[in-house]
Amino acid sequence: MAKVELERVWKIYEGKVEAVKDATFTIEDKEFVVLLGPSGCGKTTTLRMIAGLEEITRGTLKIDGKVMNDVEPKDRDIAMVFQNYALYPHMTVYDNMAFGLKLRKFPKDEIDRRVKEAAKILGIEELLDRKPRQLSGGQRQRVAVGRAIVRDPKVFLFDEPLSNLDAKLRVQMRSELKKLHHRLEATIVYVTHDQIEAMTMANKIIVMKSGVIQQIGTPHEIYNKPANTFVAGFIGSPAMNFVDSKIIQDNGLWIKSSGLKLKIPKQFEEQLEEYVDKNVIFGIRPENIYDKMFAMAPVEGENTAAVMVDVVEPLGSETILHLVAGDDRLVAVVDPKTEAKEEQKIDIVFDMNVMHIFDKETGKAIL
């Protein structure tokens, strides 16, 4: 059992720089939690506070119900995998993995058993006698993970562990880490700025910005029900389209912007009634905009628009269109068979059932 709880945790450097503001969340046993956000958002600081590498300025950190604020890192029963791996350069792979156990005075045969078992899990048995400098990036990564595994800690902390790997290796390590999580049944806190890593591995994502937690939820919730424009824009690639709009009443509710007029589906009307004639931000993901030629249910004049094609980016499996409608700019991910040409008009269809509406002032999600 390992449950990590943060209650109103603050980190303030030198009395003025607020790196983490009032963070409250719970990480349940065996959960894979990802702290996600752009650089400087406080996610690493949060992780380091859990590790005990940073002092907690205010608030409480509990692991398994016990307050850990003043417990030394080594006594927290936590292991951490660092971004640059931080392998001891003068030790062999074996000694790197055994170091923590030796310091904890484990018997020799137990150390040996654990190191070999971890090496087997990670497929680095042949590397045990090598020094870190003789390893490739991916191998170092595995050793760093192995060093954490042998300790069999309550909680694993990962600080952007994949960011130094090339794209191909990253994809591979992603699925391996996921498998490892199932196998070890461990509690994992994982920091990254990469939304794909977060979406693919996490049970729960905590999105942070400027030291403040923006949203906590499952990948599904974060993607489909973003709490505000920041989360909506941060998750998903290409990013969600935001269009400054007004909600108007004209035989039902409509989204009206400089270049678009779209009918709001019935099921949302009740929620949006109080915003009639008010400025809002209309959000729609690029993958929910279709080339009319390939669309399922175009309803002329209700969920369609005629727009100008600015740039066409064919990616093979899909094509990205940069579109202009009045003063509005849109990005759409469409079927690769599209006949859209730059500088030409094209009809597009919006899937209004997955639209988002955000408050213009606060950026908070209304819908």
Binding site: G52, L53, E55, D70, E72, P73
Partner: protein, 306 residues
């Protein structure tokens, strides 16, 4: 880092901090106190009564013609030494940096004087510059000049009492020896700087059509300004406190032509027991050095933070 490590860390460096506090700052304060006292004889020291005499020792010093000579000597020595060392250091660096065959050998040769004691340097150069009995029994370089038929180049070197204004010509051999010792060091600084200049900047300049000469003066030198500044400060502070070299090479010389404050301080304190006067010189030397070093230290520390 965590509090416990903070406590351990600070207690680990505490002895060093305390040692420096006592051996540097405590002792400087002590010297300062002595410089304001009447401890100008052994018996005064033995009696141990401290009598505050204000700036009397300093005033006496500045009225003292020997000390005035010392200040002029320091000024001219520093100027020519800095100029010579930096100029030669840059030239060495340029030549070595061309990377011709054997460059490494030359580089090591130019640097080797740095491994040698000033005392050794002084001893050897004093033998080279010893004038001998002119004009008939010349020695050292004079002998070489005579053999080459350059008799009119023979002169008294560090024994000469000639001067140009306040510049005692006897300092020339000392400057030559000092430049000999430290130009290699300056070269090493410039080489490190030159090798730190990213190649693409040089290539960009080449593509822009700059000649090698232009690249050096317009691209490299401006980038090396911090090195020049460091060199000026490091060499400058060495020159302001120069002692061993002069002591071993020439001593004070006739009419104190090669005297420097450090030698005068040494003689006052350890030969004539005039501790207060010696301390006053030491404090003046410290002030000179501090003026050069303190801003440099603080700017380096601040530069690091960024």
């Amino acid at each position: 880092m965590r509090k416990k490590n903070l406590v351990i860390g600070i207690s680990v460096v505490a002895p060093s901090i305390i040692a420096i506090a006592i051996f540097v700052y405590g002792f400087i304060t002590w010297t300062l106190r002595v410089s304001f006292s009447n401890w100008n004889s052994f018996s005064a020291l033995l009696r141990g009564e401290y009598k505050f005499v204000g700036l009397r020792n300093y005033i006496r010093l500045f009225q003292d013609t020997r000390f005035q000579t010392d200040l002029w000597n320091t000024l001219f020595f520093t100027l020519f030494f800095l100029f010579g060392t930096i100029a030669l250091g840059i030239i060495m660096a340029i030549l070595v940096d061309k990377g011709l065959k054997g460059s490494r050998l030359f580089q090591n040769l130019f640097l080797f004087p740095m491994a040698i004691s000033f005392v050794v340097t002084g001893t050897v150069w004093s033998w080279i510059f010893a004038p001998g009995n002119l004009p008939n029994n010349p020695q050292g370089l004079n002998l070489l000049f005579q053999k080459l038929g350059l008799d009119n180049l023979m002169w008294g070197w560090y024994t000469s009492t000639d001067s140009l204004g306040h510049f005692n010509l006897a300092l020339i051999p000392v400057i030559i020896a000092a430049v000999w010792q430290l130009s290699g060091y300056t070269m090493a600084m410039y080489l490190a700087g030159l090798r730190g200049i990213p190649n693409d900047i040089i290539e960009a300049a080449k593509v822009d059509g700059a000649s090698e000469w232009k690249i050096f003066w317009r691209v490299k030198m401006p980038l090396l300004t911090p090195i020049t500044l460091s060199a000026l400060i490091i060499l400058g502070h060495i020159s302001l406190k120069i002692f061993d070299l002069v002591f071993a090479m020439t001593g004070s010389g006739p009419n104190f032509v090669t005297d420097v404050p450090a030698i005068y301080m040494f003689e006052l304190t350890f030969r004539s027991n005039r501790y207060a006067m010696g301390s006053a010189i030491a404090i003046i030397m410290l002030l000179f050095v501090a003026i050069v070093i303190v801003p440099y230290l603080f700017s380096s520390m601040r530069g690091e933070k960024r």
